[in-house]
């Protein structure tokens, strides 16, 4: 359906300009515009539609059709602030209307109660700025429900004995089980664990004019051609546009937040596709540009009034970055499972959500899932067991045998916030627009690495119980690359140790709000998008309440 969006002039002072159209930006645009506020969404990437998505691995994975571009937008990496950062690809995020929600795996785990209050329970951890959230699970619960019903999440309420309380069941039953899910479930039960149907932001039934999943098998990293994956693009953006109050403006690369002499935000400065510079004026500005680009934008907006970067009186902008801990083990089975068909994950377990540090010797927790998220070329390059010949007839025979018999056990877990782990701006390297490149500084907290090994050991145990014919774990190294970009403008009550308050309002600039992965205080157990969307629904309520009280002027 063709929708006529309103076209605002840059000189129009709209109610809100939102930077970014992903998991958070899409939800905020929909909530604010359908409640009568005028909204302009500035999206760095293009406006792609379902018809533009394809299963061309080259276009998506080599030519970066949906994601940030390493040549136009180089990154640098260093382990510690003492090192000189070197050019290296450091992150992937969605760069198109819909953001990273276009290509995510769509695991939609709620955070549990413990994720918000864990610091109080276990005390301080050396080398970490670990702290509690200023809000609780109960504060967010209604918004988790809003996400499930608003964007469309398939799942089975009450299936996990570890699930936090919920006010409503899922709107749809789980997706059909995959063969790797059946094997995972049987093996986990043999071990006394509690596997259950994975909650997924993918439609198991047609809903709201969108198709149910057709099991095409190109899910992680790809856009969904039938709108079954509950991205912002499929679920929220159309509703925002239909409100008649929201303009989505693609190819608009924001590089500065304009501030007046009173220290209030007056709009966002951006390059259009031809690199012409514009200022979109607005009464309030919301950054939902992701956990890397939101802090970068604040740092790029430094001025005489805000010499360390905008909204950075705490010095915490860009810091306390968390990637989530991950470990991937792989099994090859005698029988064909054909897990290339279908979405990625059908069974998970949360028995290890909260490990006893006294027993295991480190802080952390996580979950396991069974998945096969490799597409044919990726599998051919890196999916065969160690020791398999890399070319020739034995290589070919392994390709032919293993593709239909391989799946992975993925361990997802906590990352601890470490102050030095950060996104900042590189002093030397520039992007294609002449702006300082993103610089990643990251060295895993030792407990995170211990957790990765611990989760991998459980995955191997499970593969044993499942009678895998071959099994191995991909090497676990210190992370130098991330896709979960969390904690870099954390929420808190104390302006000295946080960037935003519980209303997502920056402590320093009254009409500037931040809402995306950067808002998270802790990392959860590996599936942040559900919580990012829930925070966005909640932020919209808080921001609208402030606007109605006249508190943003």
């Amino acid at each position: 359906m063709k929708i006529d969006q309103p076209k605002y002039k840059t000189s129009d002072v709209v109610d809100f300009v939102i930077v970014g159209s992903g998991a958070a930006g899409g939800v905020l645009a929909k909530e604010l515009s359908t409640n009568g506020f005028s909204v302009v969404v500035l999206e760095q990437g293009p406006y792609l539609h379902e018809k533009d998505f394809s299963h061309d691995e080259i276009k998506v994975l080599q030519e970066d059709q949906l994601t940030n571009h390493p040549k136009l937008q180089p990154n640098t990496f260093r382990k510690t602030p003492q090192d000189k950062a070197r050019p290296q690809r450091a992150l992937v995020y969605g760069r198109a209307v819909g953001g990273t929600s276009n290509h995510f795996t769509a695991n939609f785990w709620r955070f549990h109660e413990i994720d918000f209050k864990e610091r109080s329970k276990i005390g301080p951890i050396a080398g970490s700025t670990f702290t509690d959230w200023p809000i609780s699970y109960a504060d967010l619960e209604p918004y988790y429900t809003k996400v499930e019903w608003g964007v469309g999440v398939s799942g089975l309420a009450g299936a996990s004995p570890f699930d936090p309380p919920r006010s409503k069941p899922y709107p749809m039953p789980p997706l059909p089980v995959k063969s790797n899910g059946v094997i995972f479930e049987r093996a986990a039960r043999k071990l006394g664990w509690n596997p259950f149907p994975a909650p997924m932001a993918i439609l198991s039934q047609p809903r709201a004019g969108r198709s149910a999943c057709i099991n095409c098998g190109f899910c992680l990293a790809f856009g969904c051609e039938v709108g079954a994956k509950s991205s912002s693009l499929a679920s929220m953006i159309p509703l925002a546009e239909r409100s008649g109050k929201c303009e989505i403006r693609p190819n608009s690369y924001v590089h500065k937040i304009e501030i007046d002499e009173r220290g209030r935000a007056t709009g966002a400065v951006y390059f259009d596709e031809q690199k012409n510079v514009h200022l979109q004026r607005a009464k309030a500005v919301i950054l939902s540009a992701n956990g890397a680009e939101t802090p970068r934008l604040l740092l790029l907006s430094a001025s005489s009034k805000f010499p360390n970067g905008l909204a950075n009186s705490s010095g915490y902008v860009g810091k306390n970055l968390m990637f989530n801990t991950g470990a991937v083990s792989v099994g090859v089975f005698e029988e064909q499972t054909n897990d290339y068909k279908g979405y990625a994950v059908s069974r998970i377990l949360h028995d290890f959500y909260e490990l006893d540090a006294q027993k295991v010797g480190f802080y952390g927790g996580g979950g396991l899932d069974a998945r096969f998220d490799l597409t044919p070329i990726g599998f051919g390059i890196g999916g065969l067991p160690p020791g398999t010949p890399r070319w020739g007839k034995d290589f070919k025979a392994a390709l032919a045998h293993n593709w239909t018999r391989t799946f992975e056990i993925f361990g997802h877990g906590t990352s601890l916030p470490v102050e030095n782990n950060s996104f900042s701006v590189d002093p030397d390297v520039k992007d294609a627009w002449g702006l300082p490149a993103l610089r990643l500084t990251y060295k895993d907290h030792p407990d995170d690495l211990k957790l990765a090994h611990w989760l991998a050991a459980r995955s191997m145990e499970l593969l044993d119980a499942a009678n895998a014919k071959q099994k191995w774990t991909f090497p676990i190294d210190e992370q130098q690359f991330g896709v979960h970009l969390l904690g870099t403008c954390r929420m808190g009550d104390d302006p000295k140790t946080s960037v935003i308050n519980p209303d997502h309002q920056t402590h320093d600039v009254k009409n500037l709000f931040l809402c995306d992965g950067s808002s998270l205080v802790t990392s959860g157990r590996g599936q942040p998008t559900m919580t990012i969307m829930a925070l966005a629904f909640r932020a919209a309520d808080r921001i609208m309440a402030l606007a109605k009280r006249g508190d943003l002027a």
Partner: protein
């Protein structure tokens, strides 16, 4: 069989009210603009190739040393001589040993196009790397004129001498699928290996010229098409459904007694 490829229920989204029995019925609208879903032709191509494969491969093996390219083949990057060498190299990585390999999948055409599109930065590597492989061949087998003219055993010996380090490497997970060979730092063989695999396993419906007739997907057992319905294998076909842990534990015990 063909049902899988052609039978997509086209239902108007608005008017569709799902009944229980077709809860999982595919719902696709605007089918015309989603041509990727209608993969019948590719399916027939792969099926035909599979059925006729023994005779095709016999002919190909017989003609192993005969140039297979049409006389008027227009290359986008390679010289005809380079194309012949690259095809021989790719064929050594994924050989035609009774089933289709890189040669039948048209990998050389894929790489030729790659080098003027997404892999344009690798042009130099190919242009300079091919003579180096030729030199290695001459060191080992001075009497052989070119890699493409060598016997399979000679070719394998050359590649083995190039791939000493790689053969011992530990596979790494393609990063969240964002696999990107760091090609600048790699020898031609590493890049060629990745390009050969890509040309063999790319979605045959793309215009990348690889995986001709879907032979690569047929080899690994990936059915053509882009929509599938459960059951996906015998394992999930026989699955009784999810139950809370207590009742299933009991059921498993019963099953164990049998």
């Amino acid at each position: 069989m063909l049902y899988r490829f052609f039978c997509i229920d086209v239902l108007a989204r608005k008017n569709y009210s799902p009944k229980k029995k077709d809860r999982q019925t595919l719902l696709i609208t605007e089918l015309d603009r989603r041509k990727f879903l209608c993969r019948g032709i590719a399916a027939l191509g792969a099926t035909w190739t599979a059925a006729h494969w023994p005779s095709v491969v016999a002919a190909a093996e017989h003609a192993h040393h005969i140039a297979l390219f049409p006389e008027d083949q227009k290359w986008e990057f390679f010289t005809p001589a380079e194309a012949k060498e690259v095809e021989a190299l790719a064929s050594c990585i994924i050989p035609s040993d009774g089933t289709p390999g890189a040669r039948e999948a048209g990998v050389v055409y894929f790489i030729d196009r790659a080098l003027v599109t997404f892999a344009i930065d690798d042009q130099k590597k190919y242009r300079e790397g091919l003579p180096e492989i030729q030199e290695r061949l001459h060191e080992l087998f001075p009497e052989v004129a070119s890699f493409s003219a060598a016997t399979s055993e000679q070719q394998e010996a050359v590649l083995a001498s190039i791939d000493e380090a790689g053969a011992k490497s530990v596979p790494r997970r393609p990063r969240g699928n964002f696999n990107r060979p760091n090609s600048a730092a790699q020898p031609l063989f590493e890049v060629l290996r990745v390009h050969t695999i890509a040309g063999f396993l790319i979605d045959p419906e793309t215009d990348r010229k690889g995986n001709r007739g879907g032979v690569g997907w047929a080899l690994i057992g990936r059915e053509p098409g882009h929509s599938f319905q459960p059951p996906f294998s015998a394992i999930d076909r026989d699955y009784p459904g999810w139950h809370p842990v207590t009742s299933v534990t009991a059921a498993t015990k019963d099953a164990d007694k049998k």
